[in-house]
Symmetry: C2
Subunit: 200 residues, 2 copies
């Protein structure tokens, strides 16, 4: 039986940059299927009054420096601080939801983060999204229309509801059954948990 | 020339339980001197409007579970959720400051965390503190009096001021020169940084 780990993430989460680029290779090396789950961490943070960086300049400054160092440690590209926050309409996240349904989410998420962190654009803006989608061979018009339609909005809301029910409060969060691992820095713990799962 | 890493911590920080028990052995194995720096993270958190768990029950629930798992991973004792928050007068932290000046801070910090996490008592209460201090062969009356006197209060404030100046916002924080590493989960990054320091 193949082992699986859910990867809840939000395009707009800074540390998710690391996971989007490195989690799949680590999971594959551990023999674990990574299941990509775009969700609205912003909704949960608002509900839980949990704002990690807004109004906290000292912590925010540290976060960018730490992210830069962690990126170097893992060989993930980082070329200076990108725009922040992004995707006010959560459009990039809804396209990611469409992509998850259709099976091209990993490639889309990586391209969206490259657009954000390397090209320094907001991947939620329609123009940037068009470029990203066309680079993947997807029809931008079809994807933008689908991301605005009820089916995708409903699926995005459903995954956000699932995350809430599981006790998620941040992005990225790795979920094995009902066991949560928050943060890119818990990826190894999560994979170890999945692989040792017979012991639990 | 010996290499050093400053270890800013606050008795009352939950994740510092891990570092208090494991950081010294890791530092020693890396050939690094760990310099114990008790400070008032509570003062900085108040100033920075940065309250990680108060009013955030979902995140708090996760924290205890994650701490339990991390403790198991590292072989650090954990026997259920201890009282929280503790040390309202920061008395245990001021005794730690005295201990740092006099050279017995590591033993005191470990004993204070055992009192908190294993005996489930507030190590800041005078009675619990007396037991901890006597167990270390220290005169409880002398230490409690010294912890209330100006010299120790002033040193505690000075280390808190230094932490503020360095950009510290949480406990534990490892500091190498002006480079900060926040969280027990950044201990390896911090030690690697110190050991690679010639490259920087």
């Amino acid at each position: 039986m193949s082992k699986a780990l859910e990867f809840f993430f939000f395009i707009g989460s800074t540390y998710s940059h690391l996971s989007v680029h490195r989690a799949e290779a680590h999971a594959r090396a551990a023999g674990v299927d990574l299941v990509w789950r775009p969700f609205s961490v912003r909704t949960l943070m608002r509900e839980q009054d949990n704002s990690p960086f807004a109004g906290k300049p000292v912590k925010m400054r540290y976060m960018w420096r730490d992210l830069e160092r962690r990126a170097a440690r893992f060989g993930v590209p980082f070329e200076g601080i990108p725009p922040y926050p992004i995707d006010p309409d959560e459009r990039a996240n809804r396209v990611a939801t469409l992509a998850a349904v259709e099976g091209w989410c990993p490639a889309f998420a990586r391209a969206a983060y490259r657009c954000w962190f390397l090209d320094k654009q907001d991947p939620g803006s329609p123009n940037a999204l068009r470029t990203v989608l066309e680079g993947l061979g997807q029809s931008a018009e079809r994807c933008l229309a689908a991301a605005d339609a009820d089916a995708v909005r409903s699926e995005y809301r459903a995954q956000t509801d699932r995350a809430r029910g599981l006790g998620v409060f941040g992005s990225p969060t790795f979920v094995a059954g009902r066991e949560l691992f928050w943060g890119d820095d818990r990826l190894d713990d999560a994979l170890d948990w999945v692989c040792d799962t017979d012991a639990h």
